[in-house]
Structure formats: C-alpha cells, structure tokens
Symmetry: C2
Subunit: 148 residues, 2 copies
C-alpha cells in the first residue's frame, strides 16, 4: 500500500478539520479519518468531555465507525490519519483492528504509544509520522495555552 | 483502599458471570465489573463479534458504563474486577480513567498489557492478580478448545 505526499496532506487536512471541531467544543483538539481505497469512510474527533467518557478518543470512534461502514470488524485495507500520535489505548485498538497503515502528524512526547512500547502496534502496520506536523502540534499548543 | 479475599472472590464471581454470558454468545469469554464503595455500578462482557467492533472489550464497556452512572469521566474511587489481564487498549483506557485498583483473574501471557509495558497503567494504580485464576483461565481454555 502506497500513498504519495500530496494524498497524505489531503487526508491529514481532513483529520485537522475534525481536530478543529473538537477545539471549538472545548475538547483536546485531536482528529482522525479512516481511508479505504482512497475514500474517507469514517471521521472522528475527541469527545471525552462531551460524552463524559475517557474512551471517546478520535481514533477509537473512527475505528468503530469504519467497522460499521465496512460491516466487518477488521480494517485490513485501511489507513488511519490522525493529527497526534495515538496513546496506548488507541494503539491497542488499532492493533486489534489489523489496520494496514497509520499516518500521524505530531508526536506525543508524554502519552504517545511509542513512549510506552512501540510493539503495541503490529510489526506489519506501517507507520508514517510528521505529516503536517506543525499545524497538528500548533492546534494543541493553542488549546493548552487558552486553558492555562 | 483495601478489600479482603472474600470480597475479591465475590466480585470476581460477578465478573465470571459476565464472562459466561459472553461464552454463551460465542464471544471470547471475558467479563468485568466496576465496584464503587462496595457496590457494583457497572458490568460488561466482551461483545466484539456481536457489535462488529474490536473496541467492545468487557473493560472498555465497563469504563464507559461506570462513568455514565457516576456522571463524571474519572473512576478515581473505583475498582475494576476482570477475569483476564487487560490488553494494552484496555489498560490504556484504565489509565485515562484514573481508576484506583484493578483486580484480575488469570494472566494473558500473549496479549496482556504487562507483556508490552507495565507502565501503561499509572504507578499509583494498585494491581492484584490471581483471584479465582483457575476458573477464569479454564473458561477461556474451554472456549478455544470448542473453536478448534
């Protein structure tokens, strides 16, 4: 499975749109989309405050929504675009989903899955990082600056 | 926060009842209950097949249900009883939930969170393992024997 930089930017922009929706609701601004054969089949943004549910991360919602669209629980031919590196919970969900590829924007130096164990993800899952990194990171910085 | 062996056995038996419900539905038989001040406030069993959703683990559902009952997203004064050691996804969810204590029955030697990184859980989260270990493990063995 290959994607070119142009496509990655396009899909990450869609994930960023999701993140901005979270921002506007006072939620930590992280957004995700799931792409299957070039088509966005699911979108999600962080809703932990709105739903009073710590499990309502953008990625978890996108996994559930994508499986719903596909009618099967495995996302074998899918790519997840997410603005920030997934946490261990989301990485664990992505492992179970058998997703092919994960593309994320900015690293999460404190709570990213790779801080805990890169092997939470399946070794065959391709991981690309740094796509629109500055935009993804600065939305987070802006959010936490406002909160202080 | 302390619990005696008698209480642990009682609550684990409730988690086992949940696991048996999963078994009867053809789901990997894992069950969980969340206890707050001695009272069971949430129950869950694995429903990944029924819901076509890899995130529908017993623990994840119990976290969401418990937060719903409490009206807040943190499970600070709660104990989770679960028949099998949580996977990284569920351990990650439990970290976010700020749960006080986790009691599990049998270890998951392949996909338990501790195989990946014990630090997925917060260092202050108390972990007790081996409660009704044989019953919890043998339900799983029986399930996978049938599947073969």
């Amino acid at each position: 499975m290959t994607t070119n930089i142009l496509n990655d930017d396009y899909y990450m922009r869609q994930a960023l749109n999701e993140a901005r929706q979270a921002f506007d609701k006072g939620e930590v601004p992280i957004g995700a989309v799931v792409v299957c054969k070039g088509r966005i089949i699911a979108r999600g943004h962080n809703l932990t405050e709105t739903l009073t549910d710590v499990t309502a991360h953008a990625e978890m919602q996108a996994i559930t929504a994508a499986a719903n669209v596909l009618g099967g629980k495995y996302l074998t031919d899918c790519i997840l675009y997410v603005t920030i590196e997934p946490c261990p919970m989301c990485a664990g969900g992505l492992l179970w989903s058998q997703i092919s590829k994960i593309v994320y924007g900015a690293k999460d130096e404190k709570k990213g899955y790779s801080v805990f164990s890169p092997s939470i993800l399946h070794p065959k899952t391709e991981v690309v990082s740094g796509v629109m990194e500055d935009e993804c990171a600065s939305l987070m910085k802006e959010f936490f600056k406002q909160k202080r």
